[in-house]
């Protein structure tokens, strides 16, 4: 290990150090000081992590070719840090109310962020697997962090069992890939594929195992069964984080592996992905329609969004615009979905469950700012202009049409219309119904409102002027252009 190696992964080092500092501070400071300093420490650490890494950079490998920093890495590093900051800002009051240990919560989020960033760095199957485990193991802990709540316990256990299962499957797929190509580096595998060496049944086995493993991580139908229970039972700030960061990281892994190293494969895996995308968006939306619990509905809606993003992956033959659309959508999804889950934090309910539709009646009158933010996120998730969600859907549709997948584009459009019903129903309940007599108490949360305000503003502003972010996404997709 040389100094150059360390310098290459400086943002990851900064986040790890911040996590250790948070643990130390939590162990030393008394409760009152900790309440103020811990979130501040986390946010400062993450911001310095963002600025300690380059934004645009020529591809640079380190650690003997195990790690690469390119524009793709830079994009995801910033995204993961932003998501972690957002998840930290919305959490403090909720954690205090539920007596969830705050220091452990923040440190766990930070460790998970390091894992996600490692996936973005990966240029080797081993690095990507280490990153995946480092990301998901803290998430299992986050899901079960409300120790006295049995739904939280169920969420943690279910996520752990299925996560471990999918990791094993992915690892087995990696082993097959290694056995076939004789190397674990993406470049080496891509070369072996380009030589046409891999077209037999064994490749099919490797491809199937890797696809299923990654599909589990990204919650693609029919590998999504853990998602609703895990998202519903986990403490809400944890749900907000685990519904976006691992999914974004799973798509980083999918882009690196499927397009970066298996892109030139003779087998047409994109057809499988197109079918999975259509099943996923339809399945998620149809089940979301009948949910009375808003948290569970958002969990199914996040499955539907996986389908939209997967459509962009399936259209990879359209070139850079497809990968850029995936990156843009992942960014948009990250902010609006985290925001939508975070809006549920206002409602001070028993346990970790989410609010029912009726409990949101008249929310706009009781908490105008929160309701406005929630409405903005829901409209963005629906895909109505002028929001980032609308722009993201347009960017996904273009490469899907370019790749000749007209039926998939039609499926996306139909699904967006279907989804509008259940998203806008929540808005109607918030704005047009009277407050119930036994409506739940609301948390007083200035920090949460501030965080949601910034995110809501970002959703609208990027929705009106998306060029900057899209150009950045195009740059980030450059490593996948041949």
């Amino acid at each position: 290990m040389s100094l150059d190696d360390l310098n290459t992964v400086l943002p990851e080092v900064v986040v790890t150090a911040t996590a250790c500092l948070v643990l130390l501070a939590d162990a030393i400071l008394d409760r009152k000081l900790a309440r103020f300093w811990l979130p501040l420490l986390v946010v400062l650490g993450l911001i310095s992590a963002i600025f300690s890494g380059p934004i645009t950079v020529a591809s640079h490998t380190a650690f003997g070719g195990f790690v690469v920093v390119d524009t793709f890495t830079a994009f995801f590093r910033v995204l993961f840090c932003i998501l972690a900051i957002f998840a930290t800002i919305v959490a403090p009051e909720y954690l205090e109310r539920r007596a969830i240990p705050a220091g452990a919560f923040y440190a766990t989020i930070l460790f998970s962020t390091v894992g996600a960033m490692t996936i973005a760095l990966a240029t080797d199957l081993i690095t990507i697997f280490v990153g995946l485990e480092l990301m998901t193991i803290p998430i299992y802990v986050l899901a079960g962090m409300a120790r006295r709540d049995r739904y939280s316990n169920e969420a943690g256990l279910k996520y752990f069992l299925l996560g471990a299962f999918s990791s094993a499957m992915l690892l087995y797929g990696f082993a097959w890939l290694y056995g076939l190509s004789g190397t674990t580096t993406f470049v080496g595998i891509a070369e072996a594929v380009a030589k046409g060496g891999l077209t037999d049944g064994a490749t099919l086995v490797a491809l199937a195992l890797v696809t299923v493993g990654l599909a589990f991580k990204a919650a693609v139908v029919p590998f999504h069964q853990w998602t609703p229970d895990a998202y519903d039972g986990a403490p809400t700030p944890a749900t907000a984080f685990m519904s976006v960061a691992p999914k974004a990281a799973a798509f980083a892994a999918i882009l690196r592996i499927m397009i970066g190293s298996l892109g030139p494969l003779g087998l047409d895996w994109s057809a499988v992905f197109a079918i999975l995308a259509a099943i996923t968006m339809t399945g998620g939306n149809v089940v979301a329609l009948v949910q009375g619990n808003v948290k569970r509905m958002l969990a199914y809606s996040s499955i539907a969004h996986t389908g939209y993003i997967l459509a962009g992956v399936a259209a990879y033959q359209a070139g850079a615009s497809a990968s850029a659309a995936v990156l843009f959508y992942v960014f948009a999804y990250g902010i609006m979905n985290l925001g939508a889950f975070a809006c549920l934090i206002y409602l001070d309910l028993d346990g970790t469950r989410g609010a029912s539709l009726d409990e949101l009646n008249g929310f706009a009158r009781r908490q105008p700012a929160g309701a406005l933010a929630f409405a903005v996120f829901l409209i963005s998730l629906t895909g109505i202009p002028p929001t980032i969600g609308f722009v993201a859907k347009v960017f996904i549709l273009q490469p899907v049409l370019d790749a000749g997948l007209v039926w998939l584009a039609v499926a996306i459009a139909l699904n967006a219309a279907l989804a509008a019903f259940y998203y806008l129903r929540v808005v109607v309940h918030m704005y047009m119904y009277d407050v119930d007599a036994n409506a739940p108490r609301l948390l007083r949360t200035d920090l949460l409102s501030a965080g949601l305000g910034i995110a809501g503003l970002a959703v609208v502003v990027i929705g009106i002027v998306p060029d900057g972010l899209y150009r950045w996404a195009l740059q980030a997709a450059a490593p996948f252009v041949r």
């Binding site: 290990m1 790890t16 643990l23 130390l24 162990a27 030393i28 240990p101």
Partner: protein
């Protein structure tokens, strides 16, 4: 048949012989041994003591935390041994790397200690 396939065959044959031997002996004793069950004979064996309670009873699991810590430091030692063997050739950078590695574990231990996890009660 190539050599390595043949060695798989040996493993399989060994498995068959072993399974046959055990089934054969147990089956034989089933047929020729006398069977006179009594309450004392069919009672759960607890090393000669009178059996107490059910096997499904709850028992305290404080000790898991020490088992967990043991695993952590056991794994640490796995990394320390190869480092110690190559201590001279790795030089200062090796020393610093190992210090960082141990420091991270110490942070965890310190946290556990301050949070009263190590207290026995």
């Amino acid at each position: 048949m190539p050599d390595y396939n043949l060695s798989y065959f040996y493993v399989f044959a060994f498995f068959l012989v072993g399974a046959g031997f055990v089934t054969g002996l147990l089956g034989l004793s089933r047929f020729i041994a006398p069977r006179k069950p009594s309450i004392e004979k069919s009672r759960t064996y607890e090393s000669g003591e009178e059996p107490v309670g059910q096997a499904w009873g709850r028992y305290p699991s404080h000790f898991y935390i020490f088992a967990l810590l043991f695993v952590v430091f056991d794994v640490e030692v796995i990394f320390l041994f190869p480092w110690a063997v190559l201590f001279r050739s790795l030089g200062w950078s090796g020393l610093i790397e190992m210090a960082v590695f141990i420091l991270i574990l110490v942070v965890g231990l310190f946290y556990a200690w301050r949070k009263q996890v190590l207290r026995w009660y």
